[in-house]
Symmetry: C2
Subunit: 392 residues, 2 copies
């Protein structure tokens, strides 16, 4: 019995999931959304740490519910012999094992790669740790903000008058989860031909470095260390965030024709002939003066007014949506990017949908809820007892 399976390209695959909190669970949520059966193996008593993270809805963590939809749960103590037997029976049926402990933990549990690959040669094993399983920091734990800092992303983000800012979403965790999902799927592609699994060793810090691709190449080419991002493009002007009478918006008028069109919309007809604003180079050199001129007009009307007028004039623009506005953005709802999981205790819980839209694969608006701790024990044990008929 597959209690939570959905249609998708990974249907029929079984993922045994030891991950907690964010990077790993974000990865296995993607795998579940793509059709895999994800069996979350949690410590008895407390379960995934994030079950205790607020805010709560009728006592259930919104954080936990939002990144564990569509998974099953069984509580196992990996230090207790009886539970280890169950865990190993699961591994014998599994296609993928994933964990996000710090380096060295799986070896201490007796489940290092050599043992796993020897006993379960077709198993794909993904380790998603703070710093990867090699190097001087291999056994150290990491936090999202620490890898954002060490990986360079923070040094580019913020305003020059303040210390660097962290990215407003936990990109240290999320990027690691995304690279882990790519590695797992690529290993499954290869396994379809060879029958052999591989170990995938992802470090959160490495994932941040990979996002710095172009900044590294730029530095290597010029020796220049990029500055802080602010709310504007560093070399195209105007391409920036601007205030209006209500919410800020982004306007991109990156060439002379678009700048003239913008000047027309805003009534700044003298701007294109102002020596400070004639070319993109002039505008970039005098961006502060241009921003003041543009904002002095934008603040007289609200964002909806200006976005409509800019759109009509063919000038790329968009609202800076806050989270509440995002849920009402027509393109977001048209793409089914806000879905609902019906939790028996918390009720309907809204959360981000699956951005991987596939032809011929349903993209349901309602998703299976996140599991209670140990909720699927009986079903999973019954499946194990059925033996080899479990897997297609």
């Amino acid at each position: 019995m597959q209690t939570s399976a959905v249609a998708g390209p990974l249907a029929g695959l079984i993922v045994v999931d030891l991950t907690r909190v964010l990077a790993g669970p974000f990865c296995t949520m993607l795998l579940a959304d793509l059709g895999a059966r994800v069996i979350k193996v949690e410590p008895p008593g407390t379960g995934d740490d994030s079950r205790a993270f607020g805010p709560f809805v009728n006592g259930k963590s919104a954080y936990f519910m939002s990144i564990n939809r569509g998974k099953e749960s069984i509580a196992l103590d990996l230090k207790a012999p009886g539970d280890r037997t169950v865990f190993e029976s699961l591994l014998a049926r599994a296609d993928v094992l994933i964990e996000n402990y710090r380096g060295g933990t799986m070896e201490k549990l007796g489940y290092g790669w050599d043992m796993l690959h020897g006993r379960f040669p077709a198993l794909v094993y993904a380790a998603c740790s703070g710093f990867g399983h090699t190097g001087p920091l291999a056994t150290r734990a990491a936090y999202d903000m620490v890898v954002q800092a060490m990986g360079g992303v923070m040094s580019h983000t913020g305003h020059p008058r303040y210390p660097p800012t962290r990215v407003g979403v936990p990109i240290g965790d999320l990027a690691a989860g995304l690279f882990t999902a790519i590695g797992i799927n690529a290993a499954l592609v290869e396994r379809a031909a060879t029958g052999q699994g591989r170990k995938i060793d992802i470090g959160m810090l490495d994932a941040q470095v990979a996002l710095m691709e172009n900044a590294i190449a730029r530095f290597a080419a010029t020796g220049e260390v990029p500055g802080l991002s602010e709310g504007r493009h560093p070399s195209i002007t105007p391409f920036a965030a601007f205030r209006t009478a209500d919410h800020p918006i982004v306007i991109s008028a990156g060439n002379d024709a678009l700048f003239r069109a913008l000047a027309d919309v805003l009534g700044g007809t003298a701007w294109p002939d102002d020596p400070r604003f004639r070319t993109n180079a002039d505008r970039t050199a005098n961006h502060a003066a241009l921003t003041r001129a543009i904002e002095s007009i934008l603040v007289t009307e609200d964002s909806a007014h200006w976005l409509a007028r800019l759109d009509s004039a063919g000038i790329p623009c968009g609202p800076i949506n806050d989270t509440g506005m995002l849920l009402a953005e027509p393109q977001v709802t048209a793409r089914n990017m806000i879905v609902t999981a019906d939790d028996p205790v918390a009720g309907p819980v809204r959360m981000a949908g699956n951005p991987i839209k596939l032809s011929g694969v349903p993209d349901p608006q309602t998703r299976a809820a996140a599991p209670d701790l140990d909720q699927h024990r009986a079903a999973i044990l019954a499946d194990l007892a059925e033996g080899s008929s479990w897997k297609r």
Copy 2:
């Protein structure tokens, strides 16, 4: 002849790559790093727009070189009958076709999904566009900053005294590229069993929404719109960026024991008994006063001094590396996260490595350079003339 193939789980697969600039090329660089043969099909004359993006090294774009390593190039005009024949011969051998045009462009070229799937049923087709192929904005172009703004990420990033800040790496493009790579690989897993390809429809805006997972769940649970990120954790204190005598650092002392250890290191022995700082809730309420107290001591020594002392005391911390410091970070070099491509004209070019480390798969320090426009025409046409023996 595979001129640029590397070992990896996708070895033997052929990716026909129509993408330009960033989101798509970032995705196909990952596929090339995993062993796929990526054939970049570029417009004659100019090629990928990003070939013209500075800075340049001996006339070659550092931007282009850094995200196109290990690919091949052929110049084809998809509106010219002869070139269309070559393109369709490539599709007949390809496993994956990827493009990042705005919605509707492939249909205008006569290469919409119905045609592709009808003629090449095993072909996996990935479209990575600004807003996805459905919804009111389906045919609109997007920019990184616009989707960062519309998708909510910008609204969480920055300092309260300024308009929202964009993320210092182009996360609007990069996240879309990552989700595209996951979708492609998952479709290839399924195809190994079914023989049938699928269309993958990724929108840059959708990808931003997916990164907002927890913010959306939090808003849905509480109605609260999260504020700007600044350089600190919103509910754990001290967990923030702090100035030192030279570079800023991140310190995470998120519980009372760690806070006492921090106070000992900094000589602030009265802090744990100060009513403003006794509990995490007190410290969070008085974070500005605590930051002033901590920074008044940190600025007396440099970051290396404090990181060593904090490490010895077991307090999680890390440098806020800028791009230059990143290239010297021991964990980054130990993980081979800075690799070199030897370009015949530009010389050795340093760039970010591949964060997907796989057991038994080489992770070379030197990579094949990015191609010149049309560089591999003769080799590709020769392979096509060889017929079905080309693919293993």
